[in-house]
């Protein structure tokens, strides 16, 4: 097992004007489950492929443990791309199916037997080792395929959107299973997804990328509670955080008919306008605050999501708030929303950077 380090790692595609991955610095701890997440084209898959050795690194280095693997061919890196499709061979026993790749690699018979036995124990397949795959249930067959990766005892598991070809229900089920298996094995894992929910539910830490640049890396809670910039704020969380460009007055941010007091230093960094971020669950109905016209109410049971528009300086801004599902406001009504104290985020409207209040 090992740490993984991206050290100023850069990938520029031939003919491209800007890097697909730009000076990525990222240190992944031994045994950690790190998720790379971001919208399409953000560089997450390219980063993973650089680690796998499938993409050339134009600048910087990649290390697995203390080994510089930047120039190393994929098979010498001691990694396993876990979720490529694996074939199961009908004439071979379950044990043979799990261990045959070791035979090709020249591992001794006794060593193969031992590793297969260990993996089978983790996957609860011990009693099936001498059977043929045909005799197994669908789920057991899938575990045999997993076993093939596990017996290789790689330093790092790499997974690139492994759930993308599953339907929504199975995806939810499977993501917790992968995460729990990873924790039992304790193997450093780098996982790529475009789905922030998947990232937040699976990763020990999550690295958010955009346009080839690392935006923030941290635990799911850190990203949720303390986004470094407006992009991360809007990307992490569902429904997304409301990001409202609001005018600034002497005393603070103008929030409808109220003003949120903000320290002078914070105000001075923002200019005439700041972006105020507030999550739907941190908004509530009030006498005063942001006047919002209700467009749609989505009742989920105990809660409801209010989708409305804020008329601000001639433009309509969409706003989402979580309200009581039993007595939600009605469509067409104008309501006032206030933000829970200590649960707002300020960002520089120009740069998107967080302003510490």
């Amino acid at each position: 097992m090992a740490t993984v380090t991206f050290d100023q790692a850069t990938r520029v595609y031939p003919g491209a004007t800007k890097p697909s991955v730009d000076k990525l610095n990222l240190h992944i701890e031994d045994g950690e489950f790190l998720v790379l997440v971001g919208p399409s084209g953000c560089g997450k898959s390219t980063s993973l492929r650089m680690l796998a050795g499938l993409e050339d690194v134009n600048e910087g280095r990649i290390l697995i443990g203390d080994r510089d693997v930047t120039q190393m061919p994929p098979k010498d890196r001691d990694i396993a791309m876990v979720f490529q499709s694996y074939a199961l061979y009908p004439h071979m026993t379950v044990g043979e199916n799990m261990g045959f790749a070791l035979k090709i690699a020249g591992v001794s018979k006794s060593e193969i037997q031992q590793r297969v036995a260990e993996a089978a124990k983790i996957l609860d397949l011990t009693e099936y080792l001498d059977r043929k795959p045909k005799a197994l249930s669908g789920g057991q067959r899938q575990r045999v395929a997993m076993g093939r990766a596990i017996v290789r005892q790689p330093q790092v598991f790499l997974m690139d959107e492994p759930l993308s070809n599953l339907d929504a229900k199975l995806r939810v089920q499977t993501r917790t299973q992968i995460a729990s298996l990873q924790r039992r094995l304790g193997v450093t894992t780098v996982y790529v997804t475009h789905d922030q929910t998947e990232a937040m539910t699976m990763g020990d830490r999550v690295a958010v990328l955009k346009d080839g640049l690392l935006q923030q890396v941290g635990s799911p809670r850190e990203l949720y509670d303390h986004p470094n910039n407006a992009f991360v704020a809007g990307f992490i969380g569902s429904p997304a955080m409301n990001l409202l460009n609001l005018p600034v007055s002497e005393g603070g941010v103008v929030f409808g008919d109220t003003t949120y007091p903000i320290s002078r230093e914070a105000l001075s960094t923002g200019g005439k306008q700041v972006t105020l971020g507030v999550r739907p669950e941190d908004l509530s109905l009030a006498e005063h605050g942001l006047p919002v016209q209700v467009e749609l109410v989505e009742v989920l049971g105990a809660d409801a999501y209010l989708h409305g528009t804020l008329k601000s300086e001639g433009t309509d801004l969409p706003v989402i708030a979580r309200v009581d599902g039993r007595r939600p406001p009605e469509k067409g009504q104008t309501v006032h929303l206030k933000a829970k104290e200590g649960h707002t985020h300020l960002f520089n409207t120009e740069s998107g950077e967080r302003i510490e209040a």
């Binding site: 050795g53 004439h91 071979m92 045959f100 090709i104 045909k134 789920g139 575990r143 492994p162 298996l181």
Partner: protein, 419 residues
């Protein structure tokens, strides 16, 4: 809320008969009378073969995103002139009788006269066919890599093989894990090779476990031979070669070697050093199908590369024998077609035409004629060779026009609830 979805067919050339298929039923439950063959084996996805307007098509259930991706990739590969199955279309918006959504379906045309590798092994024992399959797969992989295609799941099961005048020609069947780049990095090629090495050895070990592998074949050594074959071919097609300016014949020699391997040189870089005493050459653009293209131009016949080589040899012999060196090549080619090739094809009784592709029959008739001549010590004519071949050889051959079957024993790789 009920959302009514409508069935959509995306296809370059939609066949109205597609509408008659039971799209509101999961493929798994399609009635046997709709199927061209009964399903066997377990596939990563549900795949069924159906008869449609006289053709056999393969239908695979897959998510919409993957279906669109694979459809697009297969179209691109074919546009680049690479051997891959032909994508026919995508069916989306499927719902069952209760209004539940069903997975989209990717349709591909079944490749006529192609064989899955297991069919080759179950027909012919001995180490020869295995090595010829391996050769064909190496050629396919080199061609795909030269065009910037990263396969991601190279295996014998993801390939179909057509007979090719004693050899085989390989076709890509499954592009699901693949991607097309401008050029591939060394790492991408190496990773593909590593996957190929594991998959091929695994597939052969499986045949071994099932008692289907010739004893003289070692799975690991055979898959290593594949890697070696790939590397040799890759080097021949791409390597730089340096020599003294006096050895300029080596430029021609390199081009001829590439032609012999079945490749045309589209672009060759030639550099001289500062002193002008040495030359360096490197092929930049090579296209497979050297003989195939020439035969197509001369006769309109579209066949595999080795078959083309064989037919062209016969055509050249025909020209020499009729001693009309001055006559236009096109005229002679049409004459050859009318007097040699077509009579052989026509001589095959209708009920035997599904056994082998016409060009393969012609090749086998030539081989057969050669043996007849050798045994009898006199020159057996074409008519005699055809008659004897049909009577003694072809009649015993199986039908290979539509050998179907889902051979990939692949499973979806997802994790099951842990115990």
């Amino acid at each position: 809320m009920t959302v009514t979805r409508t069935l959509q067919i995306t296809s370059a050339a939609p066949d109205p008969a597609l509408l008659d298929l039971p799209w509101d039923v999961p493929l798994e439950d399609w009635p046997a009378n709709r199927l061209a063959t009964l399903p066997r084996g377990i596939s990563r996805h549900v795949v069924r073969f159906v008869q449609l307007s006289g053709n056999v098509i393969a239908a695979k259930e897959i998510t919409e995103e993957f279906a669109r991706r694979e459809y697009g990739l297969l179209r691109l590969l074919r546009r680049l002139g690479l051997p891959a199955v032909e994508p026919l279309g995508i069916i989306t918006g499927r719902t069952d009788a209760d209004g539940q959504d069903l997975d989209p379906v990717l349709l591909t045309r079944h490749l006529q006269f192609s064989l899955p590798y297991r069919a080759v092994f179950s027909q012919t024992m001995g180490p020869e066919p295995a090595m010829r399959l391996i050769d064909a797969l190496a050629v396919l992989m080199v061609r795909l890599h030269l065009s910037g295609f990263y396969w991601g799941d190279v295996s014998l099961s993801n390939t179909l093989f057509r007979r090719d005048a004693g050899a085989f020609a390989a076709y890509l069947v499954d592009a699901e894990t693949g991607d097309l780049y401008d050029t591939l990095s060394r790492g991408q090629r190496e990773h593909d090779l590593d996957l190929a090495r594991t998959n091929i050895a695994g597939e052969l070990m499986d045949l071994e476990a099932g008692g289907l592998l010739d004893e003289s074949l070692d799975p690991v050594r055979t898959s290593d031979a594949f890697i070696e074959r790939y590397r040799t071919l890759w080097a021949e097609l791409t390597a730089k070669e340096a020599f003294g300016t006096g050895d300029r014949w080596r430029v021609d020699a390199r081009i001829r070697r590439l032609n012999d391997l079945g490749f045309d040189v589209g672009e060759l870089n030639i550099n001289t050093d500062v002193t002008g005493t040495s030359l360096e050459i490197q092929p930049k653009v090579v296209d497979a199908g050297h003989h195939r293209r020439r035969l197509l131009r001369l006769t309109g016949l579209d066949v595999e590369e080795n078959q083309a080589r064989r037919l062209l040899n016969d055509l050249d012999t025909y020209r020499a024998a009729t001693d009309r060196q001055g006559v236009d090549e096109d005229v002679i080619s049409h004459e050859w077609l009318a007097r040699r090739f077509e009579p052989v094809v026509r001589a095959v009784p209708l009920e035997m035409r599904g056994k082998l592709a016409p060009a393969e029959i012609f090749h086998e008739v030539l081989e057969h004629g050669w043996y007849l001549s050798e045994n009898s010590g006199r020159d057996a004519g074409l008519d005699e060779a055809v008659a004897s071949y049909i009577r003694n050889v072809l009649v015993h051959r199986p039908d290979e026009q539509a050998v179907l079957g889902v051979d990939t024993q692949e499973m979806p790789v997802v994790v099951d609830p842990l115990p």
